[in-house]
């Protein structure tokens, strides 16, 4: 991608954030006025462990330029080990992205706690930049 293209390209990024830690961390980013690119659309889930790989693969094959699942740090899960389940599934998702011809950088699993507002903003900023560098999803029509 040319640098001009990178600037023009506004990726659509989805963040699936668990209610107890990451969604709260995203809220804290707001409360602390940490700025990050406006490309991220957050979808609240109760636990990162409730996200079916289908949802991620579907999103990425239907035009999302990037998807990030955010969960509690290991040990912090409100439901004991949902985040660890999510971690296992994320490995599977990453592997399968190859099968779908999608760059694995388009998907990420990240831990964000309720007190990590700035970290959430940083994560979103970096992820957006990463996606911008990659350019539009191969599935974007």
């Amino acid at each position: 991608m040319s640098s001009a293209g990178e600037q023009d390209f506004e990726p659509v990024i989805l963040a699936l954030a668990c209610n107890w830690c990451s969604y709260a961390g995203a809220d804290l980013a707001g409360i602390s006025r940490c700025q990050y690119p406006a490309n991220v659309r957050i979808i609240r889930v109760m636990c990162s462990g409730m996200v079916h790989p289908n949802l991620v693969i579907d999103a990425l094959t239907k035009g999302a330029d990037g998807v990030v699942i955010c969960g509690c740090h290991p040990g912090d899960c409100h439901y004991q080990e949902g985040n660890l389940k999510a971690e296992r599934r994320a490995e599977a998702i990453t592997l399968m992205l190859q099968d779908f011809g999608i760059e694995e950088e388009r998907f990420k699993l990240a831990w964000v706690s309720a007190s990590e507002g700035p970290q959430f903003a940083k994560l979103m900023t970096e992820f957006t930049e990463q996606i911008k560098r990659l350019g539009p999803s191969p599935y974007r029509s």
Partner: protein, 1480 residues
């Protein structure tokens, strides 16, 4: 029960302290039917835990685990939180207490504040944040932390600052100064204009009593308020005064256009009246125009102010002397009221000979002529007589009129001059000479020209009526001052003769007009007087006050109101609070730039040129913010919810409760008591709590670990333990510091990486809690270095500001280490309020000022007053939580009969059936003041939303969460038959419950509600991209709409509850739980597998504090076996437990009898056993090697003699080793207890204790000290070099290597006592399987959450207590048993358990029974069942709704959508995704 047998008990309780303990007690009580008043002295609950970063030993984020609980309390209908409150008075007795609570004002209306935070950004007063221990800043209006509950702001406000109080018109000086300091000049101007209609004049010539009151002058110089005011007004020469918002027809006459008249006219105009100002002179402005020279007040400035007033509609008629141009009675007839402010324009005369000579003139006359006609001719030599500002003005004007020499003659000294010092200085610089102690005697003229003034020298005598020393002439000291012109400027009086009498107004003896000092009324109704004509010549601002007062009086008079009420604080008053001036840095006032004195004396140009922007900001930053809140009202202007109320007052509230739980927490050790550690002197020596904030991602450095001194990342960190613990004064252990230091060291490594070195200086590493030892091992494995030593000194290295620690390590001599950062592990002190609280509630404190409790009643202080948390003894979070629950259990027992009597019951309308209806969606988009609307184009979003399918209604609101909007929402739901509601505003985490409730009140199922977070996750994070934020807001709403179409009404399942409990285990914990449950009227099935009740307690013969365990045990057994509510099953075992919370079915087999009982809850109290040592030659009939329990029974056997010879105790037998890597917690204390007993019985017996770390935590520490004092020898050994015991004839040889002495020591012992550890009961495995509850690696039961749910299991309705949970003391077992009861009571007190609506459900047509979801379910809520279809057997899963928590692991596992979480179904999430990807 009816406590005290008097009035019926009150079904309410008070919890004092809103920390984690208080919160737990409040929740336990409220959930069990007791109304709770939660009293918190701070502005929000949360306590110390809120400040922590992570928690040990799980490294959970403190806020993550705590925030949901905060929210739960915040919205609990039966918990009333009283913040900023302290208990003031306590009356009555247990069951019936009347408690008076003093509530300090918050200045923010809790019911209106939406927590949006606009106020904070508007506030100009930065303060060190207490929450971050001063490492970060907050504003005067603040919320201690973002998750605070109540989620409302508060203002730190002491009241009017000295400057404001000292100003006659109470100009908010601190306010505009604070705004200037922030470079917010326009807002500063707005603040000034609020009280002052002529600020550009005041900025030049007001004498500023505010400065006289300024606290800064105590230190160096006052703040230069006038120069700041002038700067602000000069910047915007075209500023306008606020326009009146109402209009009234009444015309008011104002006589005199001086500052009094103008200000009165202004305030009247603001109230809507039509004032007309009459001025006798040809120019308006009174003294301002004719008395003040232009080099101090340039005329364009004055004219501009007059113009502004005229622009408001104030008529000023010059050349209109009242009495001549218009008659006074006419005035009174034509005007609704009259204000007379004619000033004091008649000059005093000297009354000396020759005063009528040519060349002698009055000072005012001279100034008036210059001001009206232009420069006047004066002689070469000018004398000015007088010492006031007018005299100086005249002198300086004379210079500018061309005089060569100007001399000021004053009869007292410089010190007595009424003129301001600055004016005197300015005049002298320009060349005016001053002659003091000189009085004029006679003007000498010749040839029609003034020649000289004969004077006489004076000396100062006794004070006169004015308080100044009276000058006395010195006889024979006459001398002559030659002069060509003399200007007499010794004061003025009002023209009472000319006007006052003609107006029919009374005069005073001193020649001024008489007026009521408060109301300015005169004897003539409707006529008010004020200003110099009443006070005599005075400051401009005093005249302005008169004008303001007159306006208030006139308004009240015209409206028939009381003229006098509530005017006490009009005019200057002294500050009403004390300001601590300690620790301020000096910084002199910034001088105001002026014209060169030589130049300026020749011109009438303004002398001062005014501050530059940088100078103004620098000067304003000197302000000390005495009032904290500056009264600038910027927050009130910013608050669109109108929640700020500066009029709030302290209030006393009387609350009736049946009992009290004291949970005020602890106070961190005050380091001022230990100056040698360098805290406060060395910036890189910090406390552990400060380090928590530094580590915290939401802390002052956003989690980037750095030292406060220079914000550099530390490379070497030292932690110093036992700071404020285990010393002579505080002979107790704070119990938590070893672990938190370990945690902080680990976290530092996590943040910085393993390159950071962390050294912990400690005495004994007290990792005695559950999972602590493993955590300690983990830290060691990660490279945290533990140095057993108490540091000798800490010194700062100049230059690097690093710190040198000198310490004594094992063996060698003194060592030294250099560190970048030193963290002091400060201990716990009793709460600051300890003595006061104890006094109020009539309870006892121990010698350290913690609560005095008994081992067998650990939560009770006296009947009706209970304690939970570190107020009783230093303890960590889970123990605090348990203790608080235990206190709640005691309250529940006491108030059992009154339960439910005071709790709120809410009725909802019947639910509308929306099934089969197409979605009709209503969307409410919130502005959140300008929080959202300031960035996102809300109307455009609304417009867009209306175009979406199924949206039938959309609107925008300033605050959707406001009460009136909620009512409106209900209306709209009905009006438009909405069956889905969406609010686009803030976070569902905080506001979803509110909106759901509103839906419910409108008859809509609450689950048909959905939120779009367009504030926290949109406008706030894209503040500089309004276009993109608006687009994103549309997307977010579209996604919410997409999901809402697929929402289903959900029902919360209900489980009826069988009011009975099963308690497994008849030891201390089990019996305590059974007895407590029974005292709440709950039938109990107590199952004990042994023959006898009592468990391990049967072997404990005595305690440290003299209490008698066996007597207590007998009482308890008696109570339990005699209680008809308790069904005792001894020699019984449980063979099956079916069911779940609310209804368990348990099969108990006792011998050949098998019985099945039903109960709603289970308490697991199966206890633990003593380790049977294999070490040190124990057993095999060797009577010289015994355990501590053996020793205890021997020592308490009255038939045996005392010990003699040498006793060696060996610690950690069967604990802290490979096989059992946990600490058994109690053995150190047991050893100390038995050692003391031996010493008491036979002081000559030698007692050696061979240990690894002595873990006598809490108050046990003092017994350890006692043991050492009494000669018990404590010898440390190392894990890898355990002591050796060998038989040597009749004695035992014990060999131990002492690392301290670096050599082996051999002791010949008569008795070797092994401190055998505690091992989990082998039956735990079976119990775990029966109840499907987990155990940890060591074999003890694993609670739901190690910090906040220490007695619960993840399986609802099952609780754990006592040794089954982990090793613990008697007291701790009792606490946990009581806590289990409190937790169980919350369930048993209800008719049914309400289940969450958003839980899993099986989609029958999709589920094929593959069973993938069964094992991953963390709650074991899914089971595989078989059923038959057309004769073939099929499988399918089933969800136990009472176990499911809705985590969705199953839904993410199922390969074919056979199980889904309601409200988060894959189709619903997919709809959101699809909507997000839609191209708009």
């Amino acid at each position: 029960m009816n406590p005290g047998g008097r009035n019926p008990a009150v079904g309410a309780a008070m919890v004092v302290g809103g920390g984690i303990g208080g919160m737990q007690a409040a929740l336990d009580l409220a959930d069990a039917g007791i109304k709770v008043f939660l009293v918190e002295t701070k502005s929000a609950i949360g306590g110390r835990m809120a400040q922590l970063d992570k928690t040990f030993p799980t490294n959970d984020c403190a806020m993550c685990t705590m925030a949901p609980r905060l929210v739960e309390i915040g919205r609990h209908r039966d918990i009333e939180i009283l913040t900023l409150s302290d208990v003031e008075r306590v009356e009555g007795q247990a069951g019936n207490l009347t408690i008076t609570v003093r509530r300090r004002p918050r200045y923010v209306d809790e019911s209106r504040c939406t927590g949006c935070g606009l106020c904070t950004s508007a506030c100009p007063v930065p303060l060190p944040s207490e929450f971050d221990f001063g490492l970060g800043q907050r504003k005067a209006i603040y919320r201690p932390f973002p998750q605070a509950v109540p989620n409302v702001f508060a203002i730190s406000r002491r009241g009017a600052s000295p400057c404001q109080a000292g100003c006659p018109i109470h100009q908010s000086a601190q306010g505009y100064v604070a705004l200037v300091a922030q470079g917010r000049f326009d807002e500063a101007l707005a603040v000034i204009l609020r009280d002052n209609p002529i600020p550009s004049i005041c900025g030049r010539i007001c004498t500023h009593p505010c400065g006289t009151a300024c606290t800064r002058r105590l230190l160096d110089d006052r703040i230069n308020m006038p120069a700041l005011k002038r700067f602000v007004t000069d910047r915007r020469p075209d500023y306008q005064l606020p326009k009146p918002s109402v209009e009234r027809p009444e015309q008011i006459a104002v006589v005199g256009s001086g500052p009094a008249g103008l200000v009165c006219a202004y305030h009247l105009r603001q109230k809507g009246y039509q004032p007309v100002v009459f001025e006798a002179l040809p120019v308006a402005g009174g003294m301002l125009a004719v008395g003040i020279p232009t080099f101090r007040l340039p005329r364009p400035v004055l004219h501009a102010e007059l113009e502004r007033l005229s622009a408001l509609g104030i008529q000023i008629r010059v050349d209109t002397p009242v009495g001549r141009a218009i008659r006074f009675d006419e005035l009174r007839r034509q005007y609704a009221a009259v204000f007379v402010a004619i000033g004091a324009h008649v000059e005093r005369r000297l009354a000396v000979a020759g005063e009528d000579s040519p060349g002698v003139m009055g000072g005012l006359e001279f100034l008036r002529r210059v001001n009206v006609e232009g420069p006047q001719e004066v002689g070469r030599r000018v004398l000015v007589i007088g010492g006031g500002n007018s005299a100086l003005d005249a002198a300086r004007t004379a210079l500018r009129c061309g005089a060569a020499h100007v001399t000021l003659v004053y009869r007292r000294t410089r010190a007595e001059m009424p003129a301001t010092a600055r004016e005197i200085e300015d005049a002298e610089r320009e060349g005016v000479k001053l002659v003091f102690l000189t009085a004029p005697a006679e003007f000498q003229a010749a040839d029609g020209h003034l020649k000289a003034l004969q004077c006489i020298r004076m000396q100062l005598g006794a004070a006169d009526a004015s308080g100044r020393p009276a000058p006395q002439p010195i006889p024979g000291s006459e001398f002559v001052l030659p002069c060509d012109t003399a200007i007499v400027s010794i004061g003025q009086t009002p023209d009472v003769a000319a006007l006052g009498e003609r107006l029919g107004l009374d005069a005073t003896k001193s020649g001024t007009l008489r007026a009521d000092p408060v109301t300015l009324e005169t004897a003539v109704p409707g006529v008010f007087v004020g200003g110099d004509c009443v006070t005599g010549p005075d400051m401009v601002v005093t005249a302005m006050l008169a004008g303001k007062k007159a306006a208030i009086s006139i308004d009240r008079w015209l409206n028939g109101q009381d003229l006098r009420a509530g005017r006490e604080l009009e005019g200057p008053y002294p500050t009403q609070y004390v300001i601590d001036t300690a620790g301020w840095q000096t910084q002199r006032q910034i001088p105001v730039p002026m014209l060169d004195p030589a130049q300026r004396a020749k011109s009438f140009d303004e002398v001062e040129t005014g501050y530059t922007e940088e100078q103004a900001v620098a000067e304003a930053r000197r302000c000390l913010s005495c009032g904290i809140c500056s009264d600038c009202h910027m927050c009130a202007d910013a608050c669109e919810a109108h929640a700020i109320d500066f009029g709030m007052l302290e209030e006393l509230r009387e609350v009736k409760v049946g009992a009290v739980v004291l949970a005020p927490g602890f106070e961190p050790f005050n380091l001022a008591a230990l100056p040698r550690l360098g805290y406060g002197r060395f910036p890189n020596v910090i406390t552990a709590l400060e380090f928590e904030r530094i580590l915290s991602a939401s802390g002052p450095y956003s989690g980037h670990v750095q030292r406060p001194g220079d914000h550099r990342e530390p490379k070497r960190i030292a932690f110093i333990q036992c700071v404020g613990s285990r010393d002579c004064e505080r002979d107790y252990c704070s119990s938590v510091c070893c672990m938190y230091a370990t945690k902080e060291a680990l976290m530092a490594k996590e943040h910085i990486g393993d390159r950071v070195e962390c050294d912990i200086f400690y005495m004994d590493l007290r990792a005695f809690g559950k999972g602590f030892e493993a955590y300690y091992e983990r830290a060691k494995g990660r490279g945290v270095r533990y140095i057993r030593s108490r540091p000798v000194s800490i010194e700062e290295i100049p230059g690097t500001r690093n710190l040198t620690i000198q310490y004594l390590g094992d063996g060698e001599r003194k060592k030294t280490g250099e560190y970048d950062l030193v963290v002091l592990s400060t201990g716990m002190q009793p709460p600051r309020d300890a003595k006061r609280l104890a006094g109020l509630f009539g309870t006892e404190l121990n010698r350290f000022n913690f609560c005095q409790t008994s081992v067998f009643a650990p939560a009770q202080l006296r009947e009706g007053v209970y304690v939970g948390g570190p107020f009783a003894e230093p303890k960590d979070i889970p123990e605090t939580v348990m203790h608080a629950s235990a206190a709640a259990a005691k309250v529940l027992a006491l108030l059992n009969d009154a339960r439910g009597s005071q709790i709120a019951v809410k009725e909802y309308p019947p639910e509308i059936d929306v099934s089969g209806q197409p979605p009709r969606i209503g969307v409410f988009v919130c502005h959140c003041g300008s929080n959202i609307a300031g960035v996102v184009d809300v109307p455009r979003v609304v417009e867009y939303v209306r175009t979406l399918d199924n949206v039938v209604y959309a609107e925008n609101n300033v605050y959707t969460c406001a009460n009136d909007t909620q009512e409106r929402m209900k209306q709209k739901i009905q009006e438009h038959a909405l069956n889905r509601v969406i609010v686009a505003s803030c976070s569902p985490r905080t506001h979803e419950p509110l909106f759901r409730n509103t839906c419910r009140e409108a008859g809509l199922n609450p689950y048909l509600f959905e939120m779009a977070n367009i504030r926290d996750q949109c406008s706030w994070v894209h503040m500089h991209e309004p276009e993109k934020a608006t687009r994103k807001a549309k997307d977010l709403v579209r996604m919410a709409v997409a999901k809402s179409r697929l929402l289903d009404p959900l029902k919360k399942g209900k489980l009826s509850i069988r009011k009975a409990a099963l308690v497994i285990g008849g030891g201390l914990a089990g019996m305590t739980a059974a007895a407590e449950l029974s005292s709440q009227g709950v039938p109990v099935y107590l199952v004990e597998r042994g023959k006898e009740l009592g468990g391990n307690l049967r072997h404990i013969r005595y305690l440290f504090n003299g209490e008698s365990p066996q007597e207590e045990l007998r009482n308890l057994i008696g109570k339990v076996s005699g209680d008809e509510n308790i069904h005792l099953f001894t020699e019984s075992r449980i063979t099956a437990i079916d069911g779940s919370i609310g209804k368990f079915k348990t099969t108990i087999s006792s011998g050949d009898r098998v019985e099945t009982v039903e109960h709603g809850v289970v308490v697991v109290a199966t206890g633990a056993g003593q380790y049977q040592p294999k070490e040190y030659g124990y057993g095999n009939g060797n009577s010289q090697v015994i355990t501590q329990l053996d020793l205890e029974s021997r020592l308490s056997d009255p038939g045996r003699d005392g010990m003699s010879g040498t006793v060696v105790m060996i610690q950690c037998v069967g604990s802290r080793d490979k096989e059992r890597p946990y600490c058994s917690r109690v053995c150190c204390s047991e050893a100390v207890k038995n050692a003391l007993k031996i010493k008491r019985q036979s002081p000559d017996t030698n007692v050696y204790v061979l240990y690894r770390d002595i873990r006598t935590y809490g108050f046990r520490e003092s017994y350890y000290s006692q043991a050492r004092e009494q000669g018990v020898v404590f010898l440390r050994y190392e894990e890898d070099r355990k002591p050796e015991v060998a038989k040597n004839g009749g004695r035992m040889d014990v060999t131990v290597y002492s690392p301290l002495m670096e050599r082996e020591i051999r002791i010949e012992a008569d008795l070797v006592v092994l401190s055998a550890g505690i091992v989990p009961d082998p039956g735990n495995q079976e119990t775990a399987q029966l109840l499907k509850i987990p155990r940890n690696q060591d074999g003890f039961f694993l609670e739901a959450h190690m910090k906040l749910r220490p007695v619960d299991f993840a399986t609802d309705g099952v609780f754990v207590c006592g040794l089954a949970h982990a090793a613990k003391s008697i007291e701790e077992s009792i606490i946990q048993a009581q806590a289990a009861v409190a937790r169980a009571s919350a369930i048993l007190s209800k008719e049914y358990v309400e289940l969450e609506g958003t839980i899993s459900s099986v989609v029958a047509e999709n589920c094929d029974g593959c069973a993938y979801c069964v094992d991953p379910c963390p709650y074991k809520a899914i089971t595989l069942v078989e059923y038959t279809v057309n004769g073939s057997i099929k499988k399918r899963v089933e969800v136990n709704e009472s176990l499911c928590k809705g985590c969705g692991t199953c839904q993410a596992t199922c390969p074919k959508g056979g199980i889904v979480v309601r409200g988060f179904k894959p189709v619903q999430l997919a709809a959101q995704v699809a909507a997000a990807l839609e191209v708009v």
